[in-house]
Symmetry: C2
Subunit: 138 residues, 2 copies
């Protein structure tokens, strides 16, 4: 099952790579639109789904609502800003995490895990001092 590289599919992929960021479908749509004004948002969603299903890109489901997509498919974890929703990579030693035994996991057959850090990005950390109290009980 190899997949056809259509113009829009390729452009979506290119823009994601070029950005070097973890973009939402909507953000990517805006970028691609600049170069392909007639592209549809549905096409972006469809192709992001197709591409991630094919393992070419990575679909991230971070806390909060919108999915983000990552050109980097290698194993790594993420950190997101609780204030501006920005997402960055966290190069971390994942080997420290021991998969719990089936017993402790109520008999589940474990297929994977996800580690995600939360915090304030440099920009938001600087701007807001009193956010700390709000973050504390979140």
């Amino acid at each position: 099952m190899h997949l056809r590289m259509t113009n829009q599919r390729e452009r979506i992929l290119q823009e994601l790579q070029k950005s070097g960021k973890h973009l939402t479908a909507d953000e990517l749509f805006k970028r691609v639109k600049k170069v392909m004004p007639r592209i549809s948002l549905a096409t972006v969603y469809r192709n992001l789904e197709t591409l991630s299903a094919a393992g070419i890109i990575n679909k991230l489901e971070i806390s909060g609502r919108r999915k983000r997509f990552d050109y980097d498919v290698s194993d790594h974890d993420h950190i997101y800003c609780v204030h501006c929703q920005r997402v960055d990579n966290v190069p971390l030693d994942r080997t420290s995490i021991k998969t719990p035994s089936s017993v402790t996991a109520h008999g589940y057959r474990i297929t994977g895990f996800r580690l995600e850090f939360a915090g304030l990005c440099p920009a938001c950390s600087g701007k807001k001092e009193r956010v700390d109290t709000k973050i504390a009980d979140e």
Copy 2:
């Protein structure tokens, strides 16, 4: 800042505790409705938000779309079934996870982390054999 315990607020809390599960707003709504038929879904959403903001219950944002609420506010991680969405606790030693330094985390001020396991619950694991292939590339 203490919060007023209204009838509906208390009942929502009670039902969540009684269930012993990780329920969605909607599931909880159905349960509470049996005993308070006039309660509104919005009231359930509002109070779950209020209660979790006050630290009385825990709001879980697991992969996927719907939020779930947990009566247990102690530090623990979760596992969810990729097939039926069920969520269970994972008693795990969280101390094994080292918070990355600010440097590796792009200068973030880290406030917390979330570890979440995915898998097939006993029920779904038994029923479906060929799900494995589907799960594999997800």
